[in-house]
Amino acid sequence: MRKLVILKSLVDFVWIVTCIPMIGLLVFFAVYVFVDSSIFNSVFNGVFLAENQPEWLKQLIALIYVVIGLVSIYCLFIFRKTLRYFQQMKPFHSDVIINFYKIGYMLIGVGLGGTFVTFAARLLLKGEFKISLGLTPHIILICLGLFFMVLSEVFKVAKQAKEENELTV
């Protein structure tokens, strides 16, 4: 159980550390989209080189990045909630199975979305055609997502086995 406490503490720490910059990122994004679009160039000067690209395209890509970031944080939130069930000694609660499946689904979405958006951003904003076939964070996210989905299936089978065991007289 000490491992669970350590994991929960770490996830809580990551959750807090991630939430604080996310608030700043949301404020920045809101300013960028609704108030002053030149803020982007002043902050990320040199990151996106193509200044002649339409502003809406940059805003769209920024929006997708923000959505991906928010979905990742939501995954972390659900994972925290799931760990709470483990602490309450309810590992086979139906919410745990649903949460694992949800996390898996979202991580795959984040991985695929991240891959496509990074590719599109490079192509459209930098004019660079680059496909990374190595070990990218997006591939790891997709693998992690699939792992969570498999874990959800395993928990479903375990729950059925537990119920059957309980209903054996």
Partner: protein, 68 residues
């Protein structure tokens, strides 16, 4: 489930109460209730043997297959 547990009928025939049977065969009344209400997913041979011994009957007197 098409398997019906006729434990109630056998208990009534033998004039025995559920808690008495539970005590004789060594299971909890809650588990016996699960068996009686048909919620049980499986029954151990040892439990079936104990029930048959206590009620002096055959497994077929307790379990019945009914096709719906």
């Amino acid at each position: 489930m098409p398997i019906v547990v006729n434990l109630d009928i056998m208990l009534a025939k033998r004039g025995m109460k559920s808690n008495e049977l539970a005590e004789i065969i060594g299971i909890t009344t809650a588990n016996l209730s699960i068996l009686k209400t048909g919620k049980a997913k499986a029954i151990r041979f040892s439990t079936l043997e104990a029930i048959c011994k206590a009620l002096d009957c055959q497994p077929s007197d307790i379990l019945e297959y009914i096709e719906y």
